[in-house]
């Protein structure tokens, strides 16, 4: 990539703004909001992963959160005392692998699950594929919910706690650290870790999109038969799309587990899959900047509501009339309907989607 001096200085300004973001957020809104920003980063990574599957290869996946779950449980099992319950002889203290060993493993395992989902669904498209992937996501969640017997692998609905924090260069991120004389609380430390990971995910996404593989995915999305006739190995490339997307999901899952210190099946409900898909669709399918915007908006807006609606109602009526949680879904649904009516290609449509809509308009004029 080449930058001219203007975009270079723009990039530098953006980098500085991002580095200062946790401090500014803390100063303006309090430390709780830094945590929300951290979660937004996780969602962005997830959405970018799903964007590969849905946006590039055109495979509608409604069970994407399952890969996030697989990654999270990978680290939960290999970075906590939990396995001591199931195998007291083998692991009297549980398993405590380094996060940096588990991270690639979690990505690989999730990628394997991606292939597992992709293989039987190779011939399915559109709504049929969506239903199978939806079922797959639920199967994973239900497995996690029930695998506490006969051997207690996942601890069932109680979830797995006391997960080791992520350490960078043997500096654990779960307590405040003094770095160069600046006190950095845990949420700040995780923010920088997630920021680095997100930047990496963005770069990989960008390279993928412009690669031979990315072009082949787009061809499959446009017309699978013609793509096959071009000499594209459609079977392998579809499996690769599932695996790649799942790897991103798995890696973010491991980060989530280390950040939270606790995982349970209820974090991986169908609603979460839909949420991530909405981020991709709302922002602009197939467009990396759009997907990031969608991720930020949908991760942050519910919190804005939660923190804004109650005080507002208190001030107006003296009591809380509508629970912000139910209002959230109402506004969320309304926003999506408005979006689809007025900006069907998303807030920042991809080049290709924009063209398609222009085409439709041109066709209507004819």
């Amino acid at each position: 990539m080449k930058f001219n001096s203007k975009s270079k200085s723009l990039l530098a300004a953006l980098a500085i703004a991002l580095l200062l973001l946790p401090f500014v957020t803390e100063a303006l809104l309090g430390r709780g909001w830094v945590r929300i920003v951290d979660f937004a980063m996780l969602y962005i990574m997830l959405a970018l992963g799903l964007n590969i599957v849905v946006g590039l290869a055109g495979l509608l996946d409604l069970g994407y959160i399952a890969f996030f779950a697989v990654g999270a449980y990978c680290y939960a099992l290999t970075g906590s005392p939990h396995l001591a319950l199931a195998f007291p002889m083998a692991f009297p203290d549980g398993v405590h692998l380094s996060f940096w060993i588990v991270l690639p493993l979690a990505a690989l395992v999730a990628g394997g699950f991606g292939v597992l989902l992709g293989a039987p669904t190779l011939r399915l498209r559109g709504d049929y594929l969506a239903i199978v992937t939806l079922g797959f996501g639920e199967i994973i969640r239900i497995f996690l919910n029930n695998l506490n017997a006969p051997i207690n692998l996942t601890n069932g609905p109680q979830g797995i706690g006391r997960i080791d924090p992520v350490s960078v260069a043997s500096v654990p991120l779960n307590i405040t650290q003094n770095i160069f004389g600046i006190a950095l609380p845990s949420v700040h430390l995780y923010f920088y870790l997630f920021l680095a990971c997100t930047v990496l995910v963005i770069l990989v996404s960008q390279r993928l999109e412009r690669s031979r593989i990315g072009r082949a995915w787009m061809a499959i999305r446009e017309d699978e038969i013609a793509a096959g006739a071009m000499g594209i190995n459609t079977r392998n490339l579809k499996l690769l799309a599932f695996a790649m997307g799942a790897m991103f999901g798995g890696a973010s899952g491991a980060l989530f587990a280390g950040f939270q210190g606790f995982v349970s099946p209820e974090s991986f409900s169908l609603m979460e899959s839909i949420m991530v898909l909405c981020m991709v669709v709302l922002g602009g399918m197939g467009n990396i900047a759009g997907v990031i915007l969608g991720g930020v908006l949908l991760a942050v807006l519910p919190e804005v509501l939660r923190h804004g609606v109650v005080p507002l109602q208190q001030a107006l009526f003296g009591k809380t009339v509508v629970d912000p949680e139910s209002l959230r879904m109402l506004l969320f649904g309304g926003a999506l309907i408005v979006m689809m009516l007025y900006r069907p290609a998303g807030l920042l449509p991809s080049r290709v989607r924009r063209r398609e809509l222009d085409t439709d308009e041109a066709a209507e004029k004819v």
């Binding site: 072009r215 006739a229 000499g231 190995n233």
Partner: protein
């Protein structure tokens, strides 16, 4: 170099009637009783394909010599497209043999067939509607890696289809049907095929455009390309082809020189409204 295989031009009856041969072709021993295959680029014997529970192709034999333009004509539902898709590796035969360039294509995946020089222009054209004309053509060279040659081939395509040169940055989905057919053909040629398989290039096109497309097919054939042309428009197809096969409900009922087929009573009655 055109080389007529021994029993094609004159015979005009059922296929698979050539004399016994036992030549060695690239290590493959031709079984006695198979059709002439000395120099065939594509040799199909007793191909049966089941599609959606019904036998769509019921044991057909056909062959194409290098540089030959062969038409496969027949009415709707005769099994022509199924045959073509099977040849391209998009469908799997129930039984029978396909040999391309002396190699048995059994277990050769469709993407490998493209790399071997077989290119399909699918029915309904199948252009990548949201990509530009140029991007479509570039996708055609997916199986190739030499960037310089791809670029020069791209320039050649714009010479062959000057109309597309004016529209290289236009979205393929916004082109007219005839232009899309040109994109599909140029895209297929970008893989540098030795055998071009065209599925119903005239489908849904205005008569003038059909003429234009068929002129281009003739031009491509004149460059020495082997072409298998599947068409419902029997007259046009037989006018440009050297030989033809007539397919009816999954079987080949007639074959022979295109000129003879054009003049035959059966073809006249069934397909040419004469």
């Amino acid at each position: 170099m055109m080389h007529e295989s021994n029993s094609t031009n004159s015979d005009f009856v059922i296929p698979a009637k050539a004399g016994i041969q036992s030549d060695q072709i690239a290590g493959f021993r031709v079984k006695p009783g198979m059709t002439n295959s000395n120099n065939a680029l594509l040799q199909v014997s007793d191909l049966k394909v089941t599609y959606g529970g019904i036998q769509a192709v019921k044991g057909i034999d056909l062959h194409i010599a290098p540089g030959e333009l062969v038409a496969l004509i027949g009415s709707n539902g005769a099994g022509k497209t199924t045959t073509l898709k099977t040849l391209a590796g998009l469908l799997h035969p129930a039984s029978g043999q396909i040999h391309y360039d002396g190699r048995n294509l059994h277990n050769v995946a469709s993407h490998q067939r493209v790399a071997m020089g077989m290119a399909l222009v699918p029915e309904g054209r199948g252009v990548f509607a949201r990509l530009t004309v140029q991007e479509n053509l570039q996708m055609g060279a997916y199986s190739r890696s030499e960037q310089h040659e791809i670029a020069s081939d791209l320039a050649r395509m714009y010479e062959l289809f000057p109309h597309l040169a004016e529209r290289k940055n236009q979205i393929a989905g916004t082109l007219s049907g005839g232009e899309q057919q040109m994109v599909a053909m140029a895209r297929a040629l970008m893989s540098r095929p030795r055998l071009l398989m065209l599925d119903e290039p005239s489908m849904g096109l205005a008569p003038l455009m059909v003429q234009k497309i068929f002129e281009t097919i003739r031009d491509i054939a004149a460059l020495g390309m082997s072409i298998l042309l599947v068409e419902q428009n029997a007259r046009l197809a037989l006018q440009v082809a050297r030989r033809g096969y007539v397919m009816e409900s999954g079987s080949i009922t007639l074959s022979g020189a295109a000129s003879e087929l054009l003049g035959s009573d059966a073809v006249q009655r069934a397909y040419l409204g004469g």
